[in-house]
Every structure is written in structure tokens, then in C-alpha cells.
Amino acid sequence: MTLDLIIPIIITLVGASTPILLAGLGELVAEKSGVLNLGVEGMMLIGAVITVAVVLLTGNHWLAIICAAGASAAAALIFGFLTLSLSANQVATGLALTIFGTGFSALFGQPYTGKAVPLFRSPFPPELAADPVWRVVFGYSPLVYFSLIMVVAVWWFLQRTRAGLILRAVGENDLSAHSIGYSVIGVRYLAVAFGGAMAGIAGSCFPLILTPQWVERLTTGRGWIALALVVFAAWRPFRLLAGAYLFGLVMTLEVYAKAAGGGFRVLPSELWAALPYLATILVLVLISMRRGGSSSAPACLGKPFLPTG
């Protein structure tokens, strides 16, 4: 393979990986605090549609991303209120959030459907990225660099800070954390809001990096892949990074299989489109086989906090 082929593949791969990495990081933090939010797909759609609207109205990419993060965090707080304050079933409430996000984005996005959105390009001077090899370093959207910084930031927060320790304690043993005097519900609210904001930014990636326009269901199930990715990563940020890029590779194969002919044509294009989802299932099987059933999931994941029993 020549460099001319490899470099575009790397660029596509990084772009495809970024949204699932961002959403996965947010969900990882929420799950570390003991909350399973299945609304990632819905929050990503909300983030995506808000991004499109704000970019088309103001032309400001940064403002659009902040609004997307805010809107999705607000949606996550609806989920938080139901599951944390009213101790509703987390699985059902997460599904409701995804259904809501799908409906909201479809309704809100109607006036913007099909309109071209300017891509959010590399922040570096174009001369730096002119050389094909340096493009691999300097040629990405700011969202890509942000996602990589967040991997380190989330790892540092969880492993090296006191606040991170408290968050993990709340997820591993909520009753103990409560009896020492930490606010279990308060910590979980913050974690859920962070997860929402990150899912919103992940949604921004779709119109700003991948497909520069709004269409209904733009995120095509990537939010669910992000959820699977957290399991794959065993709730560790750097493994999440590796997993996201692995999935990015599979999704890139799909893109190239559709565009290129030759050897790819042997298999129908629909099989390539199904590949990321099949790969997810395969990976989940491999993980649980290797772990022999013992899970590294946070002990309180998905369970409501009921201090009085």
C-alpha cells in the first residue's frame, strides 16, 4: 500500500472514532458513579441537531459545540431527575431518553434538513498540514484533539484526584460513601450531566466532521456502539481509546468498501454496513469469554440508591 492510500484511511479512521470515543468517555464516568444511562444515542442526536442549528444561524463552531453540550446535559438531567431523585428504572428511563432525543431532533431539525454545514477544520495553519505525512498530525478538527485531551483528563480525574476517588467510591459502594458523608445523589447528578455534555459534543462530530448536514437519525446507532465500547474497555479510559480506534477502523473499512471496487466488491455493501454491529457483538463475546464471567463493572451499576432500604 502506498502512502497516498494509507493517509486518507488514517484521517477517516480518526474522524469515525472521535464521536464514539467522546460519548464513551462521558458514559464511562457516569457508569463509574453507578449510573447506566442508555440514552446516549438520544443525547447524541440532540447534540447533533443543536450543532447544525447554531452553526447555520451564527457560523460559530465553538458556540455550536457549547450549546450542544449544554442541551444534551440538560436532557441528561431529565434522566437524572427520574432515576436519581425519583429512583425510576434506569434501563427504561434511558430508553425513553433515546426515544425523546430521536423525536426532538427530527422535529427540531426539519428546517435545517439537507442544508450544507461548514466543516470544523484543523486549527493549525494550512501550511503545517500541507505535507501528507504532517496531515496525520495536524490535519484534524479541534474536536479530535479535544477527545484525545479528554482521555487523559478523565484518566487523571478518576485515578489521581480526590473527587475522582469519591466518584468511584459512590459507584462501588454507595452505602459506605453515603455513611462517610458524601452525597451519592449529588455525585451521580454531576456524573450524569458530564456524560450528557460529552454525548452532546459527540453529536457535534457528525455534522462538523463526518457528514456536513442534518438528516434524521444522523448518528445511526453509534451511541449504542459507544455503550458497548465502555464494556469493551472494562471502564478504563486508555482502553476506551484503543477500542474506539479499533471500531473506527471497522467503520472506515465500510466507507472504503462502498467507494472502492476490487476485492471489496466480493462481499455485498450491506455486509460491510453491518460489520461494525457484528464486530461489536463479537468483541462482547470475546471479552466475557476471557474474563470467565467475572465482570469489572462498577458494583452499583444500574441500581437505584435507597439509603433507607
Binding site: A92, L95, G103, L107, A274, S288
Partner: protein, 360 residues
Amino acid sequence: MQFQLEKRPAPSRTMRIVTPFAAVALTMVLGAIVFTLLGYDGLAAVREIFFTPLTNSYKWQDLAVKATPLVIIAVGLSVSYRANVWNIGAEGQYIVGAIAGTGVGLLTHTMTGPWIFPLMLLAGIAGGAAYAAIPAFLRTQFKVNEILTTLMLTYVSVQLLNYLVFGPWKSPTSMGQPQTVLFSADQSQPYIIPGTIVQVGTPIAIVVALLVWFVMSRSVFGFQVRAVGASPAAARYGGFSANRTVWLALLVSGGLAGLAGILEATGPFGRLVPQFPTNYGFTAIIVAFLGRLHPLGVLIAGTALAITFVGGEVAQTTIQLPFAAVGIFQAMMLFLLLAGDIFVRYRFKRSVPEATRAAA
């Protein structure tokens, strides 16, 4: 004066029945407010979506048609959710059921006989159940979470459908359109009320709901599902296998989703097309919860959700409300229902603050 939450000794039966109705009523109130704020005529939106389908008798047959797949799928899902098995990929099982039934349809297309249609239904059930068997196998054998696998398989099934209707199953007479051949008379759902669009699927849905109600309340299987769902440890002690329950829950919910799929293909659609997946499998999740995971509740809830679909189409033409609004109303219903669950487990008690008590 303050109110305080107090845990009930046992979940309230009355509240379990009252809260779904309250959730629907509150959805109308909140929906009217939200859609007014969004710049639509909120009151008209609620009127068209929730009431017009009921007051116009010629819309009733549309209700029956829309409620049929929702009820069949949601009855299966309620069995699964009772067992704490989270099959959220009914949409995929619905698609594969339709594909399997259509496969039989294509093989028998030149034949005639009353046996063809029932055979297609059986193939649909088998297809849906087989597709749900994959997550059942992965869960029982490798402890892979069924939430993710059932959902991933839904995306895969859409690609399978596309492959077939764009490829090997494309009708030779379709002039390039991606669609299978139209089902013959012996392969289509019979109409049961002359002059209407109501087909045999509607009574099938009612029978399915009654049958599952009977099985769940009267049989050992029903008891096992409820026991394992309520307390896996206690059920194991009682000799019920958790793995067997996972299998049964997924096979029943998958099989019923497959039945709904082939009924939809042989009824309203008449053939397979890329537009076949219409999210009934996802909406049925709301139906199952709104119906309190009870087959009879699901009958009512399925009708309620069908009203919003038919009403959404009405509102689209009469007040130009985008159809996506229906999704928001449906999600609101589920949100409010889940929020209302607090009244099932807790009650509000008027509490006198400490200071006042001390002064008295």
C-alpha cells in the same frame, strides 16, 4: 406545612393502574404547553393527536391496523421484561420474522391453497424467535448483555432486508424498484369486516394478548417468569433455572415480534420494501411499560399509542404539525409514567416540622 415521602409497605395496586392514565393525561397538558412554546398551536395539536382519531368513526379502522403490531410485539416484550430480560431489539426480530415469512411466500408464490398463509405466519414466528435465539445463546453461554446484542442485531437486520430487496429477492417485474413481488391472494391477510381495512391480524392480536394473560397468570411458566424476574436468587432456590427463563423470554418476545412482522408484510405492505421497518418494535417498548407489562394493559396501551400515530397523521394534514411531534408525545408519556412510579412505591405524608412540634 411540608410533605414527606414515606415508603409504602407494599407497592400500591391502585397506583399501578391509575398512574398510566395520569401519565397520558399529563402528557396532553404538558404537550400543549411545550408545543405552544415551540411556536405551534399546542391545544390543536393535542386535540388532533389524542381526540380526533377517537371522535371520527372512520378513523377507527386505522386505529385497529396500527394497534395490531404494537399489541402483538408489546405482549411479548412484557413477558420478557417481567423476567428481567431486556430485549430491546424487537424491531430486528420483527424484520427477520417478515423476511422468513416472505421467504416461504416466494417459494409458494405459484401455488394455491389455504395452507400457505398459516405456513407463512409460522415461518414468521420461527424467524423472529430464531433471531432472538442469538442473544439468548450469547447471554446464557457467555453472559453477554442482551440489551446491546438485541439492539446491534436490529441494525444488522435492516442491512439484511436491504440486501434481499435490492438483490436476490427483487421482483423481476418491479422495473428497478427495490421490492419483492406482491403477495398472492392466498398469501395475504384476509379482510374480516367487509368494506374496511381491518384484517385477520387484529383478532390475532387480541387472542395473543388473552392467551399470554392466561399463560402468565395460570401456568408454571408464568410463575417461573415472574419469580425469576422478581428475585433470581429465590427462584434458583425454588428450582427454576434462570437460563431457561432467559431462553423462554427471548423466544416468546422474538416469536411474537416475528409474527407481527409477517402480519404487517402480508397485510398493510403486501410485499417487502426498504421502508418496511417503521419502528413498531421500539414504540412497543413504550406500549409494554404503559400497559404495566400486563397483556390486558398492553391492549389498552397499544390502542392509546395507535391513537397518537393516527392522530399524528391527522395533525400533519390539518395543522401542519410535523409527524416527529408524535415521537415527543410518546417519549413524554413514558417519562411521566416512570416518574409516576414513585407513587406506586411511596406515598406523600403531611409532616409537621420539628420546630412547630416543639412549640406546641
